[in-house]
C-alpha cells in the first residue's frame, strides 16, 4: 500500500525539515489541509472552477498516428488544453481556495518554466489577491513570454539571483519570503516537493488527472487500467496526478521520465534518480543531486521545468521501491520528440512534456498494450527554443 504517514513520510522519504520560523505556517496547513479539502463546500467550489474556468475534464485522446508508429494503443491525457496551457492550474485553483479559507491575503510562488507562475498569477487575479512570483534570473530570460503573461495578469515577478539562478534558487527565495511574512502569506508550491504537507496536498489536487483517466479509459476501452502511464518528472506534479489513483494498482506500470540534459554522465544533467543520493532539499528528505560534502549541485536541462536537482518524496519512494521505472531523456531526444509529435498529431508540446514522449522510444511494451502519456503542457512558451533548432529537425 503506497500512502503517506501522519508525519509526512512515504517510506523513508518526506518529512518537514524546515526552520522553526516556518513551523506555525506548516503546522497550520498540516492540521487543516485534509479537513478543508474534504469539506463539501470546498469540493463544490473546486470542482466548479475546474469545470467552468479550467475547462475540465481534459480529453483523453486516442493518438492514432502515434499508435500506428509505435505499434501500441497510445492515449494522450490532454492537460495542455487546460486554461493557461498546462496541468499546473489544477493545483493553483486548489491552493488559492485553501489560502482563502486560511485567511491569507498575499500569495507567493516559485516558477521554473513559468507555467506554475502563470497559473498562480491567474488564480490570484481571479480572486483579487496580491501575487509575487520568484523566478530564477536565467529562467526569466529563457521563458520571456511567460514572464510577460504573469505581469499582464498583475503579478510581480521577482528575479532570484542567488546560486544557479534557476528553479532551485527561486524556491529558496520564495521560502525566505515566507519566513519574512509568516502571518498574511500563503506559499503556493508548484510541485509535489517541499515540506509536508505540500507533496501530499499538491498530489491530491493534481489527482483529478488520474481520476478522469479511470472513467475515460473505461468509456473508451472498457477497462479502467492502462498498462503503462508515462509522465515527465521535474519535481513531479503531473506525474503524481497521473499516477495517483493507480499507485496501488500493481499491474499498471508507472514510467517517470527525467531530463538527462546533455547526457546522464555529461556533468550537465538533471537525472535525479540516477545521479541523486538521499538528502534534504527544500524541507524534504528525498533523492537529490549533491556533492559528497552535501552541497546541492546545480542541475542542467534545456527545459526550465525539469531543471531541478531533486524529485518529490513520493517519486523518490516509487523509484527506490521499484514501483516506478525511471527513464532519462536528453535535450536532443526531447527536441526531436517535440518536432515528431507536432507533425504526427498536430500538437506542439511543452519541452518538459516532450521528454515524456521521447520515452516511448526507450520503453518496452507489447502491441496489445494501452499506454497513457500525460501531455502536461503545450509548447507555445518554448517556441523560441524550438525555432533555434528548426534546421536540425
Amino acid at each position: 500500500m503506497i500512502a503517506i504517514n501522519e508525519k509526512g513520510y512515504y517510506g523513508e522519504f518526506g518529512g518537514a525539515y524546515i526552520p522553526e520560523m516556518l513551523h506555525p505556517n506548516i503546522e497550520e496547513l498540516r492540521q487543516q489541509y485534509v479537513q478543508v479539502m474534504e469539506e463539501p463546500a470546498f469540493q463544490r467550489e473546486f470542482r466548479h472552477l475546474l469545470k467552468d474556468y479550467v475547462g475540465r475534464p481534459s480529453p483523453l485522446y486516442l493518438a492514432e498516428r502515434l499508435s500506428g508508429h509505435y505499434k501500441a494503443t497510445i492515449y494522450l491525457k490532454r492537460e495542455d488544453l487546460n486554461h493557461t496551457g498546462a496541468h499546473k492550474i489544477n493545483n493553483t485553483i486548489g491552493q488559492i481556495l485553501m489560502a482563502r479559507r486560511l485567511g491569507k491575503t498575499r500569495i507567493i510562488a516559485e516558477t521554473g518554466a513559468g507555467q506554475h507562475g502563470v497559473a498562480t498569477a491567474t488564480v490570484c487575479a481571479l480572486m483579487g489577491i496580491q501575487c509575487i512570483v520568484y523566478m530564477g534570473a536565467v529562467d526569466i530570460k529563457r521563458q520571456a513570454p511567460n514572464v510577460s503573461r504573469m505581469r499582464m495578469l498583475g503579478a510581480e515577478v521577482r528575479p532570484a539571483t542567488s546560486g544557479s539562478q534557476t528553479l532551485k534558487d527561486a524556491t529558496n527565495e520564495a521560502i525566505r519570503d515566507w519566513i519574512n511574512n509568516p502571518v498574511d502569506t500563503h506559499y503556493i508550491i508548484g510541485s509535489v516537493v517541499g515540506p509536508h504537507p505540500y507533496p501530499d496536498m499538491v498530489a491530491r489536487f493534481q489527482s483529478v488527472i488520474s481520476e478522469e483517466m479511470k472513467w475515460q479509459l473505461e468509456e473508451q476501452t472498457g477497462r479502467e487500467n492502462p498498462d503503462a502511464i508515462v509522465a515527465c518528472v521535474g519535481g513531479g506534479s503531473n506525474a503524481a496526478g497521473a499516477y495517483y489513483h493507480y499507485l496501488n494498482e500493481k499491474e499498471v506500470r508507472l514510467i517517470a521520465v527525467e531530463a538527462a540534459g546533455h547526457g546522464i554522465h555529461s556533468g550537465e544533467s538533471a537525472a535525479t534518480s540516477v545521479l541523486g543520493t538521499k538528502g534534504i532539499i527544500h524541507g524534504s528528505r528525498t533523492l537529490l543531486m549533491q556533492t559528497p560534502d552535501g552541497q546541492i549541485t546545480e542541475p542542467y536541462s534545456l527545459s526550465a521545468g525539469l531543471d531541478y536537482p531533486g524529485i518529490g518524496p513520493l517519486h523518490a519512494h516509487l523509484i527506490a521501491s521499484g514501483r516506478a521505472e525511471a527513464i532519462s531523456i536528453t535535450d536532443d531526444e526531447a527536441l526531436a520528440s517535440a518536432f515528431f509529435l507536432s507533425r504526427k498529431e498536430g500538437i506542439i508540446p511543452a519541452l518538459e512534456t516532450a521528454h515524456a514522449f521521447a520515452a516511448l522510444d526507450k520503453m518496452e511494451y507489447s502491441p496489445e498494450d494501452v499506454i497513457v502519456v500525460c501531455l502536461s503542457g503545450r509548447g507555445d512558451k518554448d517556441l523560441d527554443t524550438y525555432i533555434q533548432h528548426f534546421d536540425r529537425f
Binding site: Y17, P19, E20, H23, N180, G279, G294
Partner: protein
C-alpha cells in the same frame, strides 16, 4: 564539563556570541578569526558551515557561504581547522549548519568528529524537533554535545517548553520572524515577546539573535536575555577588506561599547 556549560555556569549576563562563516573571507581565516574573537572578548563563537542552500539566511550570510565554498571550504577542512586552533583557544565553539550536511557526513561520524576536534555545541535550524527526538537525541546527548533549538515570536508556549526540554546549552531566541541580516531597531512588540518568554520557567539560558547588529541592539537584547548573537553585521565588517584580526577587534569593541582602538 563542556565549555558551553562552563561559560553559562560563571556568566549569565551580556554574553556575546559572534557568528561567522568558516573559510570566509579567505579559507585560512577561520582559525585567525576564532583567536581574534577570543582575544577581543567574545564569549562564544557560532561557526557557520558554508552551505549551497541556506534557507534561513539572508543575502549577507548567503554570499559569505558562496565565497567560502568558492575558496574551497569543505566540512573535513573545517574540522581540521578547528582541531588546529583548539590547541590555542578555550572559547566555546558551536557549529551552525544545515542538516543535509550532517546527513552526508554521516550523523554518528559527524558527532564523533565534533567531539574529537573540540566542538561544544550544534545549531541545525532545519532539523525538526520531532526527528531529533525520534532519531538523534540519544546520539547527541551521549556525545556530550550541546544543541540549541530556535524559538520565534510565533512559537507557542507549549512548544517553547519542548524546545527547552530538548536544548542543551542555550536556546536560540529569534528576535523577529525573518531570515538573518534583518535591519532596524527592536520594536515594542518584540520586547513584549522577550518578556513573555522571560516569564516562563525555562532551564536553559537564552541568547537573542537575528537583527542584532550594533551596540544599541546588543545592550537592549542583553536586558531581556542572557546575551545575544551577531552574525551578518560581523560578516559585513569582515568584508570591508581590513586585516581580519584588526576588523574583528574593532567590531567586538564597537559592540561592547568600549571605543575603537587607533
Amino acid at each position: 564539563m563542556n565549555r558551553l556549560d562552563k561559560l553559562f555556569a560563571h556568566k549569565q549576563k551580556d554574553i556575546l556570541n559572534i557568528y561567522f562563516t568558516a573559510g570566509y573571507p579567505a579559507v585560512e581565516d577561520t582559525g585567525k578569526i576564532i583567536q581574534a574573537l577570543e582575544k577581543a572578548g567574545a564569549d562564544l563563537i557560532e561557526l557557520g558551515m558554508p552551505y549551497s542552500d541556506p534557507l534561513a539566511d539572508g543575502p549577507t550570510i548567503q554570499q559569505s557561504g558562496q565565497k567560502a565554498l568558492k575558496n574551497g571550504m569543505t566540512l573535513p577542512l573545517l574540522f581540521d581547522q578547528v582541531q588546529a586552533v583548539r590547541e590555542k583557544t578555550d572559547i566555546p565553539l558551536v557549529l551552525m549548519g544545515y542538516f543535509n550536511q550532517v546527513m552526508q557526513y554521516g550523523e554518528q561520524r559527524f558527532l564523533d568528529k565534533c567531539v574529537a576536534v573540540g566542538i561544544d555545541g550544534l545549531i541545525l535550524p532545519d532539523l525538526p524537533l520531532y526527528e531529533y527526538e525520534q532519531y538523534y537525541q540519544e546520539m547527541v546527548e551521549k556525545a556530550g554535545l550541546g544543541i540549541s533549538f530556535l524559538i520565534t515570536p510565533q512559537t507557542t508556549e507549549e512548544r517553547i517548553k519542548k524546545v527547552d526540554e530538548l536544548s542543551r546549552g542555550f536556546i536560540y531566541m529569534v528576535a523577529n520572524s525573518s531570515i538573518t541580516g534583518a535591519k532596524g531597531g527592536i520594536t515594542d512588540k518584540q520586547l513584549a515577546y522577550f518578556e513573555r518568554v522571560n516569564r516562563l520557567p525555562l532551564k536553559n539560558p537564552r541568547l537573542i539573535g537575528f537583527g542584532i547588529s550594533d551596540h544599541e541592539t546588543f545592550v537592549t537584547a542583553c536586558r531581556y536575555a542572557n546575551g545575544a548573537i551577531i552574525g551578518s553585521a560581523f560578516i559585513r565588517a569582515l568584508a570591508e577588506g581590513k586585516e581580519v584580526e584588526k576588523a574583528t577587534e574593532d567590531f567586538v569593541r564597537s559592540i561592547r561599547g568600549v571605543g575603537v582602538s587607533a
